[in-house]
Structure formats: structure tokens, C-alpha cells
Symmetry: C2
Subunit: 298 residues, 2 copies
Amino acid sequence: MRRVLVTGASGFIGRALLPVLVGRGFEVHGVARKARPAVAGVTWHAADLLTEAGRRHALSASRPTHLVHLAWEVRPGHYREHPINRLWADASIDLLSRARACGVSRMLGIGSCLEYGPQSAPCEERTSQCRPTTLYGRAKLATAEAYIAAGATWGRVFVPFGPHEPEARLIPSLIRSLRAGEHFACSHGGQLRDFVYVADLAQMIAAVLDSGLTGAVNLASGEVRSLRSVIEHVAGLLDATHLVRFDALAATGLDAEPILAADVRRLRGVSASVPVVGFEERAARTLAWWIDRLPGRG
Amino acid sequence: MRRVLVTGASGFIGRALLPVLVGRGFEVHGVARKARPAVAGVTWHAADLLTEAGRRHALSASRPTHLVHLAWEVRPGHYREHPINRLWADASIDLLSRARACGVSRMLGIGSCLEYGPQSAPCEERTSQCRPTTLYGRAKLATAEAYIAAGATWGRVFVPFGPHEPEARLIPSLIRSLRAGEHFACSHGGQLRDFVYVADLAQMIAAVLDSGLTGAVNLASGEVRSLRSVIEHVAGLLDATHLVRFDALAATGLDAEPILAADVRRLRGVSASVPVVGFEERAARTLAWWIDRLPGRG
């Protein structure tokens, strides 16, 4: 029996991942501090993984063969400099050691493109020099190094979007503003980013978990788009491009970086079966999901 | 104008303190991450004090002359060993420095009897040797030392109880169990503790703040009672002593210490005006408050 323990299982990426793992035949165990969304075939465990007792409980209650570690502090507007992510680095490294000691055979930690920091070329896992400029990026990178040194796998997520995305992030806040008939203020929008639909990301994570790949691997679409094109596309679907105010805010820090792109050759080697679907189709799905959940002009 | 900034203002002690400070003529500013209970005369500020940006915002938005710092992680069952309280120690010390730099004239940090650790005699602020046995106690003590060295004031709370107490703590969970007609399992109950009613504690904090006292001061009733007598008294009020199971659980760690008592001579020097009211009257008030809020047998 293959049993996978998913941390952060009630979060944005976690809830997309759970049904994919169930579909691949895993016995799926989710751990969360409190929230337990109903997902068919998932056994839940309540634990605070920042505590040693929580980590011990999560592992002993699920006795996993596989681990996908998603849980970190990622609240929009807070997470990049929040000192709690220093504790998440310590907890993540301790979880890895404990999982190995319990005989977990395959361990996949989930990191972030913020580990790379500013880069002039697409980020490549083994040749790009990481220069994180945020506390979050530095804490994730320190954790990545421990996972990679231990022979585990480390996925770096670029810009995920889709159902259940925290509402203060770009696409949900854009949809919310435009649906309410309000202006949406943003920067010039020329920055290029790799947006990855959360259900596709879940397929990629599952494919990596099921492969023998170790070390770092980018989890991204491989396609870069300007923030302007993303915003204009979503606003166009809502027939509300006139409400968008480009150049109304100054981008700062990493948000001002002209490009953050992913080299996805390592990923493609193990996720060839993950369908490549364009941004436009994913944006339409995302919008439909939010339209059902947000107040609007009817 | 005297303006006081209260951190942790939406918590168990904070919400009892706010009206007392309003009554003493302070312009009261509360800071909390989210929750903002309606309290007449209080201006609220949203900030996460674990972040530097949150600390800067709380001080610049309120421009206080006085500071009462209550905010820490105190969730029952978690807080004693939760590593987040290391961050609260760092944040508390940084808040002190920033408050001094902003010209705050009077600063009162709130600590805990857990700073003392096991003691054979009543804890006295300047002569008892602190031997904390928990991460929380050590983190509070390190913070206390920084506050005291800076000429600020540091209050050590013993065992608070009363309205809005977190439901997993002793008295609320006892009331909940007995009201539901369920057994209540506890240890032998011989441990002696100093229980302090939260509204009295609020009066003590305000009196200390309004005094010139610096250094550490115990915030306690000065009266010790056995857990058994507390439990039996509350159970008696509910006519449910038959539901209490003493000796059904083993007390461990600090909970097993035979006595944790407070020397309250320093406190009495500044809070002579705080009425001394017995436990029985306070227990009756507490019970009445919970009865309105808990499901029961009618």
C-alpha cells in the first residue's frame, strides 16, 4: 500500500492535490491545524507542525510511505518577510529527518520561485545561482538545501492561480474589484511571470512524486506572460477593461523584477503526461469558479 | 493627553483591561491581528506585531504615551512549548526599543508565573531565583530581563479566570463538561495555585501602569487554593460534584508542582485601591457568565 501524507492539505494547493493523489491510487492522509475540507478518500489528522509534538503525531498517525510537504505561512501581504517562516524552515527540516527515520521512502518538499530571486534568464534548477531577496525565499532555500542533501525532491512553484486562491492575491482581487464595479489599481504591468493553474500544478506534483526524480525541479507552465496581458485578459472576460488603472501603483522589490521565468525541461521529463493547456482556457475556468462565489452586479 | 496602546487587546485579558483604562481617562488604542470586539471609547488598529511593519504601524498610528504589551501565543495545550513564542520574545523586545525611540514614557510588559518555574516558597519578584521549565517561561523571562534592564515595568500574571477565558482552560472546560452532564477527569487536585479574576487583574494592571513602579511585579490575588477546592466549589454551584473524577489523570511537568504562590507585597503597594474580593464571589460571577453562553440541560 502506498500511503501519502500531505501537509498544508487544507490550503490552496493542497486541496487541489488531494483528489489527484486519490486518483493515482494513494491512501491519502491530510494534516492541517484545523480546517478539514471534505474530500472523498482522505483521512485527516489535526496537528500543528510547528511543534515537535505535532510532527510526531502526524507521522505516527498516518505511517506514510510518501510525503508531500506544502505547509508554510503564505498569507498574502505578510508571508514574504514574516519571521514565522524561519520556524517553518526549522520544522520542515525536522519533519524530513523524522520522516526518514520512520522509513518514508519518497519525500517531496514544496518551495518557491522566490528562492531564485532576481534572474536575467529563465531559472534553471542546477545552474541558476539562487539570490533570494526575501526572508521567505531565504528560508525556503535553506530548507531546499537540506532536502536535496538528504536525497529528497524539492519542487519550486512559480505563480499558481485558480479555485481557492487566497482572495488578496492578484487574480481574485482583480475579479472582486471588477465585479463590484470598482477601479483596479496596478503597476505598469510589463513584468513577465509564469502563471500555473492550480489543478495543473497538482498533476505536476503528483507526477514528480510518482517519479524517481530527486533534487530541485521547477513547477511551472513554461510560458511567461506579462501581468498586463493577464490583467487585460481577465478584465476583458468581465467586459471591464475600462476599470483597470495601469501605472497607478509603483512595483517594488521582487514585484518590480522584469522577468521571473522557469526552465521546465526537468519537469517535462517526468510530467510528459500532464496536458499543456493555455492560459486563456484556465483563466476562463478560474473566472467561472469565482463568479459563483463573489458578489457581483448580477 | 494620555494615550495608551494595548497589544493583544482582543484577547482574554485585553478585553477586560480596555474599559478599565477608558474609565481611568486614557485615550485607548487597541491592536489586534483581526478581531475587534466593540468596546466603547477604543480605537482599533490592525497589525501583526510579529512583523517589523506591524510594530511600526501600531506605534505610528496610535502615537502612544503609554504601552501595555499583552500579545503572545497562549492557546491552551499549545503555548507552553510552541516555538512561535521565541518570535514573540524577539518582537516584544523590538517593540520596547521602538516605543522608547517614539518617546513612550511608560511601558508595561505582561509576563507569567511560568517565568519562576518550580519554587518551594511564594514567588518574590527580586529574591526568587527564576528557573523556568517551559519554552514559554524561558521566552517570557528573557523578555522580562530586557524590559527591566530598560527601566520598564513587567507584570507576572498567575492563574487568571473569568469571562472570555479560552474554553480549553480549566474552569471553562469544567463548566462545559458538567453542564453537558459529562464526567470531568482531573488529577488529584492537591496542587496549590493563585487564581486571579480577570476583571481584578485588569484593575491591577491599570494601577501598576498609573504608578511609578518599575521592574517586576506579581499580578495575583495573594491567596492560594488547591485545584481540588476550585473544582469542587464550581461543581458544587452546578450541583454536579458527583461528575468530577479526581485522580483520573496524572499531572505532569509544571502542572504537578505542589505550589505556585505569589508574594503580592509589591503589588499591594500600588494597587491598595483594588478591592480584595474572595474567590467564591468571583466564581459565582464567572459561572453566571458562562451559563448564558454554553449549551446546558436548561
